[in-house]
Symmetry: C2
């Protein structure tokens, strides 16, 4: 199909498609003439994926580019599936972990590390997501919404259930597994955020007026 | 304190503080002279809150302004606590719901509405978050990560647990309740996202090498 048909099939303007081509987010079409190229279903799929990661997943272009590169050529041998996924999502913040992970320190100055250690979570103490958790927890404190250890434990129980479902859905084949882990990490967050808001409505209404 | 001391106390530059003052995100200090104003602890708290909502919560300035306005003067009488919270977060997309909510249609063309109806969730069918869930679910499909009804149900079970914890933490006094609901909705999402990624690590490691 011509680029105009690709635009129609995806609902993305020709100008934006040309931008994706220039930025390498979309692979070139088959050259038909000096000014025309031919696009196929793989292009339709790729454009939909870029839109999903940007519009729904909220990723910026640099991260989308890293995610697409990881899916295309997962470096599974070296860093494992979660490592490949984490690297494509965290970018600069990714810590290259070649040696065996250390142990979480139950007396760490980091509240997230103490919490994870107390739960018995087996996580590399250098994992930068632990710093994200510290920042997010501090932001709750700064806003005056108390998230104490008990409430954090309840949240951790719920997310452990979610993680079990996530991990169970990962296919065995390494390239497909990386794809599932990377895309699932980004795209299921908005699903969970929407479900949480809907559950708020349901729980609040049910408390006020129990079903008869 | 002078504006320079406020900058030091919050780690936010004087230029940014002046911008917050101009944009009405920060209330004016007490006037001391034609060129000087005096700031206090309420300003420190407010700056920390604006940073938390923007940097961690990912809200844009227009939404932060609405959130702050809602907390300052919650219109609880008219729309209820969840209504006030939702309106400040959703802005334009907020549907003014004055009449009694309808029932979810189990044959709705919207997959999110069919799903919520099948779960027995008591949610107004006009709630725009249902459209968010449709969009997020479609994005998973577009990316080729299959989230079927069973997986969505497992996610919904987990978020219902989270919502129970959230709702239980809401204080009785209406203004404090609005504050807790609005800020908790925004600021706990990043906590849950970080916990989910950490739980992925833990679950994956535990499957590979069960604890001895």
């Amino acid at each position: 199909m011509r680029i105009s048909a690709l635009a129609e099939a995806t609902g993305v303007s020709v100008a934006t498609l040309k931008y994706y081509l220039r930025e390498g987010l979309l692979h070139p079409g088959a050259v038909r003439s000096r000014t025309q190229a031919d696009y196929d279903e793989t292009h339709v799929e790729r454009v939909r994926l870029v839109r999903a990661l940007g519009d729904v997943g909220g990723l910026d272009l640099a991260t989308i580019r890293r995610v697409l590169a990881t899916i295309a050529e997962p470096d599974v041998e070296r860093v494992g599936i979660l490592g490949a996924a984490q690297r494509s999502l965290l970018g600069e913040a990714f810590v290259e972990i070649d040696d065996a992970p250390g142990e979480l320190d139950p007396d760490s100055p980091s509240r997230a590390r103490r919490f994870a250690a107390a739960r018995g979570w087996r996580i590399d103490p250098r994992d930068p997501v632990l710093d994200d958790l510290d920042a997010a927890w501090d932001a709750c404190d700064a806003a005056g919404i108390g998230v104490d250890e008990a409430r954090m434990s309840a949240y951790a129980d719920a997310t452990e259930t979610v993680a079990e479902v996530d991990v169970a859905s990962v296919p065995r084949e390494p390239a497909a597994a990386v794809r599932q882990v990377v895309l699932g990490t980004v795209l299921v967050d908005p699903v969970l955020a929407a479900l949480r808001r809907l559950a708020h409505q349901h729980v609040a209404v049910s408390r006020e007026t129990p079903p008869s």
